[in-house]
């Protein structure tokens, strides 16, 4: 032990050499106050005590990266060499599909879809977002693969290279296909994010990139300035990290085996499946509402649901304003605003609704819109943004979509239309359920990912980019969704 460590001097009575957890704990503390010499000295003692040499190497690499004040090119190089050495020792089994790292509900649905279709599939999450998810929603967490000596709440159990490297090794050993957002997988938040693809590919693991939003948006490239403004209002800090997002985008364009980005094509050179949105839900859980009422805002109120987790982004103020104006005109409208609610509660509330006023700035329907469609509600969302919607109507399935396309400028009139027209609500609601089952159910997810996996894993000749082409796709032509909207707009018969 270094004799000048005052903490050690005061704890002479403790048998340090035999207490590897204490040694590691002290090493961690020292790494955080940037005492690299002490840290590595402690680690030398830990090495003798630890059985798992892999852990030792990763720990050493992590500490070399952690002591950033003293970081040099040499220490980063040593850390990288250690990490690569550990990776080279992994024997890949390629036994399951993996979904990582962000605890987002769509990972849960995709995972479940593939499990239901008979595939071995694991959702492997970095952390748990508790506001809307439950721990049992996902199969495995990064902390689950940490060794026992890493105490919960300590530095290495939270955000360190060690933790992410352990998760990566687990993926490397078990995954056949890894599904990640544009920010990458377990290495995405580490200094070695650019090593993720080569290491996975060397192990025979395929990579599917599925951007969802924050991992993807470079604000200065967004083609809809209202979306840009809404992003700036709701997520202002992302404007400061555009360089990092762009670098990852260029990286994955080059290295991914498949990219599925839906309508989000602002700043991307490549996608492999032309789909409007890759979100899917469990339509068995999200049952269609059994009956439709005849309320028309006169004697009986019509219930409008709005789900604004991000208010500017969804255009909440425009919804409030439109409903106020319609109420002032005498229409009876109940507004139910759902925010930060657990999913099972959302399902119950949706069953009581007539209309889902989903989002009017973001140029698409989102997960909430799909849930509304699956429930059989008449859904309103912005499908008017030409750069995003047109190519998905031409080359994908958006032409079948029964969502009433609505912008802040048309919100009041479209709301009036749906509130006063229960027959139209019913017609759109039934079509919506059909659409959700066809394109956004777990079966639909299994269809899409099955096609992708057949191509990238087994080399089958699958025309992914035209998977949903209205004229070429057998899947699309089967049971077309019929509804009275044209390009998302309702034009009454003359």
């Amino acid at each position: 032990m270094p004799p000048s460590d005052p903490y050690l001097a005061s704890r002479r009575a403790v048998d340090w050499a035999g207490n590897e957890a204490a040694l590691l704990g002290r090493a961690v503390e020292l790494s955080m106050i940037q005492k690299p010499d002490f840290v590595l000295h402690y680690l030398d003692h830990v090495e003798r005590a630890l059985i798992d040499k892999t852990d030792y190497k990763l720990l050493r690499a992590a500490i070399l990266l952690t002591v950033s004040g003293e970081k040099s090119a040499a220490s980063v190089r040593e850390a990288r060499d250690l990490f690569m050495e550990v990776c080279a020792g992994v024997a890949p089994r390629r036994e399951a599909l993996y979904w990582t790292p962000d605890c987002l509900i769509h990972n849960r649905y995709w995972n479940r879809a593939m499990q239901r279709a008979g595939h071995a599939s694991v959702s492997f999450m970095d952390t748990l977002a508790t506001a809307i998810n439950k721990p049992e929603d996902f199969d495995l967490y990064y902390n689950d693969v940490l060794p026992e000596w890493v105490m919960p709440g300590t530095y290495f159990s939270r955000n360190s290279f060690f933790r992410h490297a352990k998760a990566f090794l687990h993926i490397l050993e078990h995954a056949s296909v890894l599904h990640v957002p544009m920010s990458g997988g377990a290495l995405g938040r580490t200094e070695f994010w650019e090593m993720e693809a080569p290491l996975l590919h060397a192990a025979g693991v395929k990579i599917v990139v599925l951007p969802y939003g924050q991992d993807y948006y470079c604000y200065s490239r967004l083609r809809d300035s209202s979306v840009r403004h809404a992003m700036l209002a709701d997520y202002p800090l992302c404007a400061r990290s555009e360089g990092g997002v762009e670098a990852r985008m260029r990286y994955w364009e080059e290295h991914a085996d498949a990219i599925i980005c839906g309508f989000m094509t602002d700043n991307i050179a490549r996608w492999d499946v032309t789909t409007f949105t890759a979100f899917h839900i469990d339509t068995d859980l999200w049952q269609a509402k059994p009956t439709y009422n005849g309320a028309d805002g006169g004697a009986e109120a019509v219930r409008v649901i709005h789900t604004p987790n991000h208010r500017t982004f969804k255009g909440t103020e425009f919804v409030m304003d439109a409903i106020k104006q319609l109420r002032d005109e005498g229409l009876k409208i109940d507004l139910v605003v759902i925010e930060r609610m657990q999913n099972d509660q959302v399902r119950e509330v949706m069953q009581t609704g007539d209309i889902l006023a989903e989002q009017f700035i973001h140029p698409a329907y989102s997960l909430s819109g799909i849930e509304g469609m699956a429930t059989g509600l008449a859904v309103m969302a912005n499908l008017d943004s030409e750069p995003y919607a047109r190519f998905c109507r031409r080359f994908s399935y958006l032409g079948e979509c029964p969502v009433l396309s609505t912008t802040p400028e048309t919100l009041k009139e479209n709301l009036r239309l749906l509130v006063t027209n229960p027959a139209l609500r019913r017609e759109l609601g039934i079509a919506s359920r059909h659409y959700a089952e066809k394109y956004h159910s777990l079966d639909a997810a299994a269809h899409m990912f099955g096609a992708v996996h057949r191509k990238i894993l087994h080399g089958e000749d699958v025309d992914l980019i035209n998977l949903y082409h209205p004229l070429r796709s057998e899947y699309n032509r089967t049971k077309p969704v019929r509804h009275p909207l044209v390009d998302g707009h309702w034009k009454p018969a003359a």
Partner: protein, 486 residues
Amino acid sequence: MRLSFFSKIKKTSAGNNGDARDSAAAGGLTKHAAKLEEAARLMAERACGQAIAALKDIDKKNADSEVWLMRAALYAERDDMEKAQSSFQNLVEALTHEPQKRDCWVWLPGIAPEHARLWSASVPDRLASVRIGADADGVMAGEVLVAHDADITLPARREGATRTHVALTLFAWAVRHGAVLARSLAADVLAGTPFAEAEAEATGRPGNRALIVPADDEVACLSKIYDPCVRYAWLTRERSIVQRERHLQRNLGQWAIHAGLIVSHFQLDAQGRWDVLMPRFIFVDPQSWPARKSGDGALRVLHFDDHPDYSGTIFLEHAVERLRAKGTAIELVKMKRGDEASRRAAYAQADVLADGLNAPGYSADAVEAMASGLVVTANLESEFNCRVYRRYSFLGECPARSATPESIESVLTALSRDAGALDEIGARGREYVARHHSLDTAAKLFTSIDECLQVDPRVEKHPRPSLANYFHPKQWALHHKPAARA
């Protein structure tokens, strides 16, 4: 008004112009005054090596920002760029950690002097207003515009000081005193010094208090502008702008990271960040612009043709010729923009100001013209650039008539046929300016900006209040009397 390095509203009892101690005292730094004085004297004699030696026994631990400033200037003068940059980094580090007074609204380069003077009246009372900009010789200088009761002492310029030293001194003073550092994207205090490239980070690190007001040519990253007509317009106006593309993008990226607040520019295409969304950051005193008198003859159309291809002058000329050929009483007056007096005279003789037809948005001239009761035509067609201002700002209330090269003839036709409309639109223009571009509006906005930037992100746990929806019609209406939407 001539800029003065020796501007001083109230002298402190201990203050002496031209004294190093005085300059240091302004920043609360007197620790190494004697050595700095000696170094300054040697620098004036261009004995930079000896000047550096005079400071050599002040070690890194004891050096304060004044010492690093002097070292950066001296090493720059000796062309020892590695040490100059290192000293500059240490200067920024020292400025970041030393107490800041934050008692001034500082107008930095890029804000026109006449605007700084006029808008100073709207600066919150708790702050003095100071301008820093290049003097006639291109050397940075400072000017106290409004002091209120504060004791504002600008650093004195030393005899024989290098340009770099002068710029660094004013930069450091601005960082110490600026509660708000208003500037454009590209015009730097440190322009022409080896530290210009680092100005964004150096301004941002000590508390992110820069308010960025981009100028037209600072956001014209042509590869990011969607409308090729606008690209064409820029290429005709300033072809060299394509050589600055990388620099402009770098500037935008740097300030997106380091600015306190960024005001949007109408040409939003390349802007990845804005914090205040308004069609044009321009404020006038509406009372000082007399209302136009109704004409009873030909429709008098005024047009500033400083950049004819950019503005689409030829389309305007063509439209006027066709109208005259059809017998419409219409007169086109083209002139260079000139000074304010000449513009006032021109507005008094006109009914319509034909603003640019190619690039989206309205100009500062359009605001003056609306304040004068003229009808303004401007290109407000671009879906990308206009929709967001209608949804989230006050463009929906703007009475300017949208006109493009294709539609200018029909717009002028309609105006020439309806003299009553001229008066009505003119009156609405005056109302619009009073509501959104007046000094009263500026005063409210500046107060909000000041309150926002008072929150120090390095210290406070809560984020700065968002001004993104400051002019949102649905929220603005809660606080301000609504006007009829155009």
